[in-house]
């Protein structure tokens, strides 16, 4: 479904991605793990067209989307839950969710998706008229995820959805990611919480200073000694 080939991204003289390649198949949950500054966010932003790479390719369902501007990617079936949630603070929860469906025009289908999102996130329904900026961090994360789902995506990119959340919220967020996957949506998940990410992922790639240094079955990586040392704190 998604294929990244030899992606190189520079910020001025800093080379953030040094030619990474990986693949996400339909229906999979793929974890992308790595330390701070490894290039995880850069990877996701390049895939969704927020950044343009210096070289390399991004293919979505065999279509080259490398040079397609960011705002045209959503309607191709890809949604991106950005790092730091980035909800619209001055809009209500409901307005935020409707913004997620900006590229869709069929009102009855949008209403149906809204129902589904409210079913997955009952708390958002309770707070639908509250300003997003006044939600708690965990609620904002749910809103960011719900907003992404409003575009009815085939694949969702998530950038550290558990960052800064209390353990209860972290569990809830991972449960929701699992249910998004169960509903048939492909997931590319960037996480610092490697343990939880590997537990729900099918496969994973490990990123280190702009290179993919390890990849494989998530269960195998969970038992890999070097991974245990570096990312699982064991």
């Amino acid at each position: 479904m998604l294929k990244v080939e030899n992606l190189v991204v520079n910020y001025g003289v800093i080379q953030a991605l040094k030619g990474i390649s990986f693949e996400v198949n339909e229906g999979e949950v793929i974890a992308l793990i790595g330390a701070n500054g490894a290039g995880k966010t850069t990877t996701l932003q390049t895939i969704s067209g927020m950044l343009s790479p210096n070289s390399g390719k991004v293919l979505l369902n065999d279509v080259d989307i490398t040079t397609i501007p960011g705002h045209k990617i959503v309607s191709m079936g890809m949604a991106h839950v950005p790092e730091g949630r980035r909800v619209f603070p001055g809009l209500t929860v409901l307005e935020n969710l409707k913004m997620g469906a900006y590229t869709r025009s069929n009102k009855t289908e949008i209403a149906k998706t809204l129902e589904q999102v409210y079913e997955s996130f009952p708390r958002l329904k309770e707070r639908q008229n509250q300003l997003a900026g006044t939600l708690s961090g965990g609620e904002q994360q749910m809103l960011a995820m719900g907003r992404a789902l409003m575009s009815n995506p085939k694949i969702v990119l998530m950038d550290e959805p558990s960052m800064g959340l209390s353990p209860i919220y972290v569990d809830e967020i991972f449960k929701i990611i699992q249910s998004i996957s169960d509903a048939g949506t492909t997931v590319l998940l960037v996480e610092q919480n490697a343990k939880k990410a590997l537990a729900i992922a099918d496969r994973a790639y490990v990123l280190e200073t702009g290179n993919v240094v390890l990849s494989g079955d998530a269960k195998d990586l969970l038992n890999d000694d070097s991974i245990k040392k570096a990312y699982l704190g064991e």
Partner: protein, 293 residues
């Protein structure tokens, strides 16, 4: 009756400020920049009306429409040529560029139209109404200006709330990158904002010069600065704030002229602004920016 006359004239002047202030406030809210060239688009708009209506004898409506279309195009052109390449530059660089564009427009007008003041023919021929047994006379320009301002405000608020491009404007003003992720074309939205602001500037130019019929290449700069003040006064970024700020500014200016001193009127206007900002730094309707990490 004197007071009422000053008040109504103040409302009319304030309506012009409000229409201009909309351009400042929308561009600031959505593109996060101060477009100091906005006042000069008013002047260009007024010259266009003068040339087409008085110069070529076209009907008023036609010449205003031509002026709106040209100013809309001019605003989009300015944005594309001068500001878009600076999207990632510092605020200071953008501000200096805007001042440069302002001088460029004034000098271009000097070159084309010369520095001699033109006596502008009002676009409104209606004489207006006389009330209270002839004691209170309200001119047609005054009435039309106020009504036009209110119509524009209502239409714009409806547009922002109920249309897709309006929703896109709200999203872009909140968070540009997140808006892109929603599928919103940020560059297109910013361009549309300039288009609307500049089209309104053309209307403001025609109304302003109908009330104060002296047109020079510098006609736009003082009302531009005052309208910017009005936008800050009402809360920059807020559409109803532009209305309230503009009306208050016009009224204060006119009453100060009438009862205190016409030389000091501008100083009083700015003094009031400073007091308001001391009490409420975000302006009357300005939002306190609150963010959660």
């Amino acid at each position: 009756m004197g007071f009422l006359t000053y008040l109504i004239n103040g409302l009319s002047l304030g309506s012009v400020y409000a229409i201009i202030a909309l351009g400042y406030t929308m561009v600031y809210g959505i593109a996060k920049m101060l477009n100091f060239a906005h006042g000069d688009v008013i002047m260009i708009g007024a010259y266009l009306v003068f040339m087409t209506m008085t110069g070529s004898g076209m009907p008023v409506v036609v010449s205003i429409v031509i002026s709106i279309i040209c100013c809309t195009a001019l605003g989009m052109l300015i944005e594309k040529v001068a500001y878009k390449p600076l999207r990632k530059a510092t605020n200071l660089a953008v501000l200096i560029t805007a001042i440069g564009v302002s001088y460029f427009l004034q000098n271009m007008a000097l070159l084309i139209f010369g520095s001699n003041p033109i006596s502008f023919t009002s676009v409104i021929t209606w004489q207006g109404i006389t009330l209270a047994g002839g004691q209170l006379k309200i001119t047609g320009v005054t009435i039309i200006t106020i009504i036009t301002c209110l119509i524009i405000m209502v239409a714009l608020m409806w547009f922002v709330k109920n249309t897709k491009p309006g929703q896109a404007m709200r999203a872009v003003s909140e968070d540009r990158d997140a808006a892109t992720l929603m599928g919103i074309n940020v560059n297109g939205t910013i361009s549309l904002t300039f288009a609307i602001g500049s089209g309104l500037a053309a209307i403001a130019g025609a109304l302003l010069c109908s009330s104060y019929p002296v047109l020079t290449p510098y006609t736009g700069s003082m009302p531009g600065i005052k309208a910017f003040t009005a936008a800050v006064f009402g809360g920059i970024g807020s559409i109803p704030g532009a209305l309230i700020g503009g009306l208050l500014l016009g009224i204060i200016e006119n009453l100060a002229k009438a009862y205190i001193s016409s030389q000091l009127a501008d100083a009083i206007v700015f003094a009031v602004l400073i007091i308001v900002l001391l009490v409420k730094p975000t302006g009357i309707l300005g939002k306190q920016t609150k963010e959660k990490v």
